[in-house]
């Protein structure tokens, strides 16, 4: 029997153990949708797994059962006692088949057509289950049911009784003897242990108990030959022995029962707690005689803890072992060609976490194959290679492990999800309208949500991502996705490396103490004068960044100390790409804490990831930064995208530029890049006229519309004056009416928080103040739709431009400006993304690229473009703020045709015209 089937039997056995009581509960409370869901999912999982393992008999029974349960779940069929009996028979049948499978390694022969027929009849809707007959049958089957259940109980014993252990070890000896020929060392090690542990009664080995206990592993020359020890009935020993004739390598491993490791872990956890308690006592007593030994004890405890943790670490590849087979079968079943790429299989994590992530991963890979990837025909049509690809990636990131499950398939159909969310009543039209694309995609994590049009036998009944999400969150992880229609979907799972012991910062808020896991804590700042308010939202200026703040006592609805905000501390915390500050009243020490899960009745409080006991014996709640971020909206879509953009532009040194500061309306000052402003005017009130309800001025022989910025603008009274920022385009001009022009400053511009507020790009720290940066393009459009459009020949083909620029701000400035000048503009954020467009066969008339960018910078992009391929002859323009001679030379050498100072729009347009005009040499320079 192979590994997969053994795993399947163990897992399904565990699931089935609770199923009887769940079904009986359902019979008592037929309306209990949670129980229905639970039963449905289990049967669904059995069915799904069977399909891959080729267990057709089991699959058919489970499928028929699932059909009926599916109707119970969606409420189209009432749960009846007869129905429950029928499902119970399905469960019995599954057990029976599994028992046979366990004994012989293959499905026992048998006829299930009667049960299936009845199930189908119920499914079809007549709902009549013969009252007497099935009952009788259940009774008749009872003995058969009782037997396997007892066996399950034996397998499920968490702490093996000595007798079980003895049984478990017995076959180990048997296994050892044939192996002894080739692996003498390993065997002599193992055999005495076995003998010692099995002194008393030696019961005949029971397969179930054995399988749960022992697996033999023999290392030979670094290669691991691993096989479940006696998998079937005792006596089938063939897979265990090391390859005959090969010398056994020195590296020895000893399989240790997981329970031993678990109890070691518990003991170490308790030891850590006691050590902490001792340290705390010693600190209070200042007894120097104690300090030395205590230090030593502390040291040893830490090392012991580390050692025990290490024994629990396993490469994530263990959880992936079954996937290649699964993908292979999936590809046969679905008629798709699928390639599975696994990277980072050696990444280690705690085995407990590993176990809990195994099922969700399997499910996601299955989903990717079934829903994510298109059929071969559709792929050909879309111009993709026929072979679909599923990618698994694992890597460490700051105390967490990130697992990415991606495919290059069709991506999520946002429109379909939107429609489905609407039809299922998950959101209203208005809510949907206000949602970002990713927010809509995230609906697939909602319970019962499935977009698979057809109910396939693989998946697509709405048991899906919600279960995955629940499982991931249960271990303190998070799940997110990114998807582009037509290009694929990638799920990102972030989970902690271990659940057991973490370092935590102890803080106080509202008179209560809390622990914040140190993993997420970036730094600790005294909240002083740096805390400012934008409306009611507190923010902190931290090294020229604006940090959103949340008050711990406020979100936990604790008594707010009025003086705390000024005198407290800010715990700067990172959740995913987002940085935010948690305001606390006091900060104590850091302590190693043993994370204990909270009681089930508290699970809905998402602010806490667990609780623990401190050195002084008191109970303390552990805060979950993820939960806090979610509850306060820090992780909301736009903030996230922006945070990422900010992080990226943070990598490239902030480029300085001239900014014009002005006041308009209430609140923070506003800013606009000076380069965009043609002139500043201070006009007397008499010159402002009203034409068609719009204020205008006669300006240099033409009529210039005035657009007031800020609310409630009134023309200045007689004798007053109006400050105006004049913008020019060709022969036309537009004035923005502002209250007061404040200053021109030279500063790096980093936009921190992008509000969804039309006319503003976001907030930045300028001249030490939170300042709103206006979106010129938006304001100019207020002057009338045709502002930029006039004068352009309508039938001319618009030259196509690629803008490569990592700063979202500059992209936002450039794209409308170039678009207004008559170009069709495609903008990307890095050289690498640009090259992807080249691979996709995109052609441009010219490329405008920034020089400094992460990933692949402008010079690299130019070299790659000149190296060959479709863009070899495309004019390349460099945009940079470093206009010294050496930089210009470097960009020429890399392959740029021209070199334009950033933010000189006229020079850029001039250079573009030069590039695109036919017959002009491409080597000219424009500065």
């Amino acid at each position: 029997m192979d590994d997969l089937i053994a795993d399947f039997l163990t897992e399904t056995g565990e699931g089935l153990a609770g199923l009887d009581s769940a079904l009986l509960r359902l019979e008592r409370h037929p309306e209990d949708s949670r129980t229905i869901g639970e039963i449905f999912r289990l049967i669904h999982t059995i069915k799904g797994t069977c399909g891959f393992l080729g267990l057709s008999r089991l699959e058919r029974v489970a499928h028929a059962g699932e059909n009926v349960l599916g109707r119970y779940r969606d409420g189209s069929l009432p749960v009846t006692s007869g129905g429950v009996s029928l499902i119970l028979r399905v469960v019995d049948r599954v057990r029976e088949i599994m028992a046979g499978l366990e004994a012989t390694g293959s499905e026992p022969a048998g006829d299930d057509s009667a049960v299936i027929r009845e199930l189908d009849a119920v499914f079809a809707g007549d709902g009549v289950v013969a009252g007497e007959a099935p009952e009788a049958e259940v009774a008749a089957e009872a003995p058969a049911r009782a037997r396997p259940r007892r066996r399950k109980a034996a397998a499920a014993v968490a702490v093996p009784e000595p007798v079980v252990a003895a049984e478990a070890v017995a076959p180990m000896e048997a296994v050892a003897s044939p192996a002894a020929v080739s692996a003498p060392d390993a065997v002599t090690e193992a055999a005495p242990v076995a003998a010692k542990r099995a002194p008393g009664r030696r019961a005949p080995a029971r397969a179930a108990a054995v399988r749960a206990e022992v697996r033999a592993e023999v290392r030979a020359d670094g290669a691991v030959t691993e096989a479940p020890a006696p998998v079937a009935a005792a006596g089938s020993l063939e897979p265990v022995a090391a390859p005959a004739g090969e010398a056994v390598a020195v590296a020895q491993t000893l399989r240790v029962n997981v329970d031993v490791l678990e109890s070691l872990m518990t003991l170490v956890s308790e030891l850590v707690l006691t050590r902490n308690q001792l340290l705390q006592l010693a600190r209070a007593r200042e007894d120097s005689a104690l300090n030395g030994p205590l230090q030593r004890l502390s040291q040893i405890t830490s090392e012991l803890q580390e050692g025990v943790m290490k024994t629990r670490m396993q490469p994530i590849g263990h959880a992936w072992k079954g996937l290649p087979r699964l993908v292979r079968d999936l590809s046969h079943e679905l008629g798709k060609r699928i390639e599975l790429v696994m990277r980072g299989a050696e990444t280690e994590l705690d085995r407990q976490v590993l176990e809990m992530i195994r099922d969700p991963l399997t499910h996601m890979v299955r989903n990717s194959g079934d829903h994510g990837l298109e059929g071969p025909a559709a792929r050909r049509e879309a111009g993709k290679p026929e072979m679909g690809r599923i990618t698994l990636d694992a890597y460490h990131e700051g105390g967490h492990i990130i697992i990415e499950v991606g495919d290059d398939g069709r991506g999520l159909a946002v429109e379909r999800i939107r429609a489905k969310a609407l039809s299922q009543g998950l959101a209203t039209e208005a809510e949907l309208a206000g949602m970002g694309e990713r927010d809509i995609q995230r609906f697939i994590f909602r319970a019962g949500f499935s977009t698979a049009a057809a109910v396939t036998s693989v998946s697509g009944r709405g048991v899906g991502m919600d279960v995955v999400k629940t499982n991931v969150e249960r271990i303190g992880g998070t799940i997110d996705l990114r998807s582009a229609e037509g290009r694929g979907t990638t799920f990102l799972i972030k989970i902690p490396l271990t659940l057991a012991i973490v370092a935590a910062l102890i803080v106080e808020a509202g008179g209560e103490r809390f622990a914040i896991p140190q993993i997420g804590v970036v730094e600790l700042v005294r909240a002083g004068d740096g805390v400012m308010h934008i409306k009611d939202a507190p923010v902190l200026r931290l090294r020229d960044r604006l940090l959103p703040l949340v008050s711990l006592s406020r979100i936990l609805r604790l008594e707010d100390r009025p003086d705390a905000e000024g005198g407290g501390f800010v715990v700067v915390t990172q959740v995913g790409p987002n940085l935010f500050g948690i305001i606390v009243d006091r900060v104590f020490d850091t302590e190693e804490i043993v994370v204990k899960p909270v009681a089930p009745i508290l699970r809905h409080v998402t602010m806490f990831s667990g609780n623990t006991i401190l050195g002084d014996g008191s109970v303390i709640m552990i805060l979950d930064p993820n939960g806090i971020a979610r509850a306060t909206g820090v992780g909301a879509e736009h903030a996230q995208a922006d945070g990422r953009a900010a992080a990226v532009s943070g990598a490239a040194a902030t480029e300085k530029m001239s900014l014009l500061l002005f006041r308009a309306g209430a609140g923070a000052p506003r800013a606009v890049p000076l380069g965009l402003v043609a002139r500043l005017e201070d006009l007397p009130a008499e010159r402002i006229e009203i034409s068609h309800g719009q204020p205008v001025v006669q300006y240099r022989g033409a009529l210039m519309p005035l657009v007031p910025i800020g609310e409630g603008w009134m023309p200045p009274g007689a004798g007053g004056r109006q400050a105006v920022l004049v913008f020019n385009d060709g022969g036309r001009a537009l004035g923005l009416a502002v209250e007061e022009i404040l200053d021109v400053v030279e500063e790096g511009l980093r936009i921190e928080s992008g509000q969804e507020r039309p006319g503003y790009l976001g907030t930045a720290v300028i001249a030490g103040r939170a300042t709103e940066v206006i979106d010129c393009a938006w304001w100019l459009r207020q002057a009338g739709e045709d502002w930029f459009g006039a004068g352009r020949p309508a039938d001319a083909r618009r030259p196509r431009l690629l803008v490569v620029e990592d700063s979202a701000f500059f992209r936002n400035m450039l794209v409308p400006a170039l678009g207004a000048a008559g170009f069709e503009v495609v903008a990307v954020a890095s050289g690498a993304q640009a090259l992807r467009l080249r691979e996709a066969g995109e052609v441009f008339d010219a490329i405008v690229s920034d020089i400094e960018m992460p990933d692949l910078d402008g010079l690299g992009l130019a070299r790659a473009a000149r190296d060959g391929g479709a863009w070899q002859g495309t004019p390349l323009l460099a945009l940079t703020s470093h206009a010294d001679a050496a930089a210009v030379r470097r960009s020429h050498e890399a392959g740029f045709d021209r070199h334009v100072a950033k933010f000189d729009r006229d020079a850029l347009l001039e250079a573009l015209r030069g590039c695109l005009a036919p017959g002009i040499a491409q080597s000219g320079t424009a500065e």
């Binding site: 707690l273 909270v598 409080v605």
Partner: protein, 167 residues
């Protein structure tokens, strides 16, 4: 009763439930109301404890306490039964530690009394006029309390599982 008093359920059964048709019941008082829980489900009885409040938890949850290295969630029976809170000057609550769904919970009562052996037959169903909140958590009423001053009083049997079904 300051010290921890561990109850051996087996011993309790032997002394207090000699006949098959009697059950051993631990009595406790909540705002003057005599209540009972089956002794077999009781794991510990604790005196005054430091209880850490848990923000955002249901109001019935008084907080978490440390029972020899295990964290036990405390449920205030007064709040669970919709009774007024304890007077600030009153002696601190006692904790009756019970098991529910594999977890330990502490039921906070004003005082804990004796273990009684009561005939199962004496358990009357809840009167239909009982407060719905109480009807939900009460498993019945014992009226024939033998001996002493309790003779005149009614004992409400608490269904521990339901008491812990919060939210």
């Amino acid at each position: 009763m300051d010290a921890t008093l561990a109850i051996d359920p087996a011993a309790g059964r032997r002394t207090a439930a000699p006949a098959a048709r009697e059950s051993a019941i631990l009595t406790l008082t909540v705002a003057g109301q005599l209540c009972g829980v089956p002794v077999t489900g009781v794991r510990d009885i604790l005196g005054a404890q430091a209880i850490t409040p848990i923000p955002l938890a249901p109001p019935e949850v008084a907080g978490g306490l440390n029972l020899r290295g295990r964290i036990v969630t405390a449920v205030d029976l007064r709040r669970r039964l919709g009774l007024p809170p304890r007077d600030p000057g009153a002696p601190p609550a006692m904790s009756v530690v019970v098991e529910g769904g594999g977890e330990l919970y502490a039921l906070l009562a004003d005082s804990v009394g004796d273990v009684l052996a009561l005939p199962e037959a004496g358990l009357a169903p809840n009167p239909p006029t009982l407060d719905p909140l109480w009807r939900e958590v009460c498993a019945g009423v014992h009226q024939n309390l033998l001996g002493g001053e309790r003779a005149e009083r009614l004992l409400i049997m608490l269904d521990v599982e339901r008491v812990l079904d919060i939210g």
